[in-house]
Homo-oligomer: 536 residues x 2
């Protein structure tokens, strides 16, 4: 296969919903460039911070050296937002935007919400490219006219802080990477059998006894209340939801270290939901619900219950009710839906409420597709993680999910009505923590999660059109060069994404070796802009 | 499977040739501990530096807090070396040592060579363990009596600086990791079609025009003569050979950027071998020889040659002769051996000299085993890389080499005499650079290369004995806990090895979460002890 010049295609990942572009190259002057807020746009903390942040991101290589060309120069971009509310991004909030960059360098970004403006700023920042040989910034293929919105409302990754504790900067880095991919959900699988690392004002003993901190005898290894608030706030500023998962009842043996009486008291659960539900403002809380094990049996004994299935179904129903009292909708792994659904079908009690979200994680075979179809047909909502487990490779088995499987994935089971399809919310890449600590986190999630971002944001028809040879594979000449550029962007912005295979790029292209032109002071740029890449 | 306590087995990786141990725990006092040189041991720069270095490595957590126990305390270790020559470690040099730590804390390390002493110091450093909860150092399972030597003489990894340039600290980190694994060979695949990054006094244009530095327009991206000397010296101090590979004639199109007349002049090659052969003191130079392509056809046209096979065979024979003039033995990929061997068998000229080393890289099937058998039966030597390509996973195909394949690998083809078997020198894990830059290098090579270290150092009978269920797999209770500890050691020493699957470890064990008790100032500890982990 002939090599592909990454500059031959547009630089955007994901591909926008609709766009046209030309062939002109504009210069961008880092010293003069400014965002201007349209007069009708009300102030917003989130928007102001984003304008300053994206200016830093675009011009990370400093002031450059002004070239002596007569090219048209981009010196400002006008931003207008219809509704400046910026409390917290919630599932289904409008993320659309329009971005125009005219041939005369007139630049206008408009959006209905601050969240849409964030997505548009990311797109603009991907259009502005630094040339290390010229030491200057340029915006190629102008004029641009982009009208953009996502195909799916929920686009996320899951990280697991129970099997390996991840430092706060490592979590913030993933939020950065989500924003750089126009994704919007961090699913924080916080607790599991292995550890309960979440500090709590009402129940401090849970983490004091259940975290790695207590096991190792060090002060790190648990998330203070302030740590948790920092993660939520950092995500809010970037239009990312943080969906907290406290895995119940199957994976909760770490809780029992502090509270052997745990499952006997609904009051305890109510208080826990109240505290964490307030700290994590997302409407959705995740309560696990998979792989029910011995800890439930212990609870059954205390309750005098005899049928495991009935106890579990009872537990899930009460959990949904308890969450609803605190204004929360419940996401669980699909096990919970399946078991309650089966009980209902046999006349044993009501189904889960329609606000329930089932996360599919089994095989995406006929049974898996049928399960998701049943969820949305019954009025529930579904998120797919089947096939998007990114922890494989290098250990027993050796099989890793590859990007081709991600871009070619079918997301909606066949045979649904449009209304039912709309309840397939999207997908999540899951990175379980047994084989991934924070030193290996970035490489395992990215670049593959960026491909999931394309699959979830870009219309399926667009992807089908550039996949001339179906399914999309190693010979694809649209997505692949953009993956190469995107990987460079991620690394240059401090995300240690895995390199894409350089075999497809011309020899000695700057895109083959982007580690050689990282921004100044790169090693001191952590996720938060101040800390080291690794916090230790 | 029940969890395994990593402290239940000995902490050494690789397993020594012969050892006995007890059940006593000695305290080790970081403030008082000193190495003493036996009176008959002559001074050696390599040995002195190693004693200081291993003192730093063992006591990386600082002075600790002295416990108020009556346990016996290790305060010194006597080191004796019969022959203190330390010019450079060469293939086949003696690496044996004896280490005794008595129950009364009498510690004696003796070796024939400084290289053996280095291996023994590594073993001692693995016996001394830091406990983060006690904040103190201990040596468990004393008394120890270890008599050790490697099963194979060549134990290495290959890195590729042609597809991605790797910074000097990244190379030094790999040398560290080799020493920590009692491995002894860094095969430096320096040039390829993609780039020629090696600075040269005689031919500076090769790198000036063929490196990424020229392509990207930055000053990084090539190895100065001083860089190359620093790598060689760093490796010498750790008893590691650096086998330089200049890939000829198949993968040399990057050379032609500077010297289109390259292949027409043997004088050029002689000068190149003279310069690089002097800078890299290892007796072996590697000249590629695989995947012959169009550049050779161009040379054929100039030479008026018509049969590709004859030209190639002629080239390889002359290369061996040219290298011999400079005192060098030639390693190539097995292609060269196969083709010259075939020509010889058909009466077209002599075979390669007996000093030739063939590196097997094809499938380890019947044909692959037969090829290696033919190499050693004809008097040549062989190194196996078949099955040890560590670049797989995450990209097209998705299949990664797993540790079980490494530990269960057959290294010597069946049916050889003992004398023939002795010419199977060992093995090399290869990490090709298309999908691995220096941000992903450590994780891709380690931990799996540590398992290769065990396979190459430890007698096969020992491995067979602890693999009760053959082949060795996920249920192995000897190697797996040592992999867990070894991964912690590597991370704590600055190598970003991939985590081993924590499913096998008890919940909240300190070995599950060793990132929480890294040494102080860890983020500032690079390969050289001063630079950042990443040099940028």
């Amino acid at each position: 296969m002939a090599p592909i010049d990454p500059d031959a295609v547009h630089p955007l990942l994901p591909t926008p919903y609709r766009f046209t572009n030309g062939t002109a190259t504009l210069r961008v002057d880092p010293g003069r460039f400014a965002f201007t807020l349209a007069a009708a746009t009300a102030p917003s903390e989130v928007l102001s911070a984003a304008l300053a942040r994206y200016r830093r991101i675009m011009f990370a290589w400093g002031s450059g050296s002004s070239p002596a060309t007569a090219a048209t120069t981009l010196t400002d971009c006008s931003v207008s937002v219809a509704n400046s509310s910026d409390g917290s991004f919630q599932l289904g909030d409008d993320e659309s935007y329009s971005l125009r960059v005219a041939a005369d360098a007139d630049c206008r970004l408009s959006a209905r919400t601050v969240w849409g403006a964030l997505r548009g700023l990311e797109t603009l920042s991907q259009l502005v490219e630094y040339s290390p040989s010229d030491r200057w910034y340029e915006l190629r293929k102008a004029p641009w006219q982009i009208d953009d919105k996502p195909a799916f409302v929920s686009r996320g990754v899951m990280v697991d802080t129970a099997r390996h504790w991840l430092s706060v900067p490592a979590l913030l880095r993933q939020i950065d990477a989500l924003a750089y991919s126009r994704m919007n959900t961090l699913h924080w699988h916080a607790s599991d059998e292995d550890a309960f690392p979440m500090g709590s004002t009402a129940f401090p003993a849970l983490a004091a006894r259940g975290s790695y901190a207590s096991a190792v005898g060090v002060s790190a290894g648990l998330y203070s209340v302030a740590d948790q608030e920092a993660v939520v706030q950092y995500a809010r500023m970037r239009g990312v939801r943080v969906v907290l998962e406290l895995d119940l009842p199957g994976h909760a043996s770490s809780w029992a270290l502090a509270r052997p009486d745990l499952f006997a008291t609904w009051r305890f659960l109510g208080q826990l939901i109240a505290e964490f539900g307030a700290r994590f403002p997302d409407r959705v809380m995740h309560f696990g619900g998979d792989e029910v094990d011995a800890s439930v049996r212990a609870w059954m004994r205390e309750q005098g219950a005899t049928d495991l299935r009935d106890v579990y179904v009872h537990f899930e129903r009460r959990l949904h009710a308890a969450a609803a009292e605190h204004g929360k909708e419940v996401q669980t792994w699909a096990d919970a839906f399946r078991r309650v659904h089966n009980a209902s079908a046999h006349g044993r009690g009501p189904p889960l409420p329609r606000t329930a979200i089932a996360q599919e994680w089994g095989r995406w075979d006929e049974a898996g597709r049928a399960e998701m179809a049943a969820v949305v047909r019954s009025g529930g909502r579904a998120v797919r993680s089947s096939g998007f487990y990114f922890d494989g490779g290098y250990s027993t088995g050796g099989r890793a999910t590859v990007w081709e499987e991600v871009i070619n994935a079918q997301l909606v089971p066949p045979g649904l009505s449009a209304e039912e399809e709309s309840r397939v919310l999207g997908a999540e890449a899951c990175l379980w923590g047994e084989v991934a600590d924070e030193l290996f986190l970035d490489q395992k999630l990215w670049l593959r999660a960026s491909v999931l971002a394309e699959r979830l944001w870009t219309p399926h028809a667009t992807i089908a059109a550039y996949c001339h040879h179906k399914p999309c594979s190693f010979d694809n000449r649209d997505l692949q060069p953009r993956m190469v550029k995107n990987r460079c962007r991620l690394v240059q912005r401090g995300i240690l994404a895995q390199p894409y295979n350089t075999q497809i790029i011309p020899d000695r292209s700057r895109w083959q070796q982007c580690e050689l032109w990282l921004p100044q002071n790169w090693s001191r740029r952590g996720a938060a802009g101040t800390a080291a890449v690794y916090m230790y």
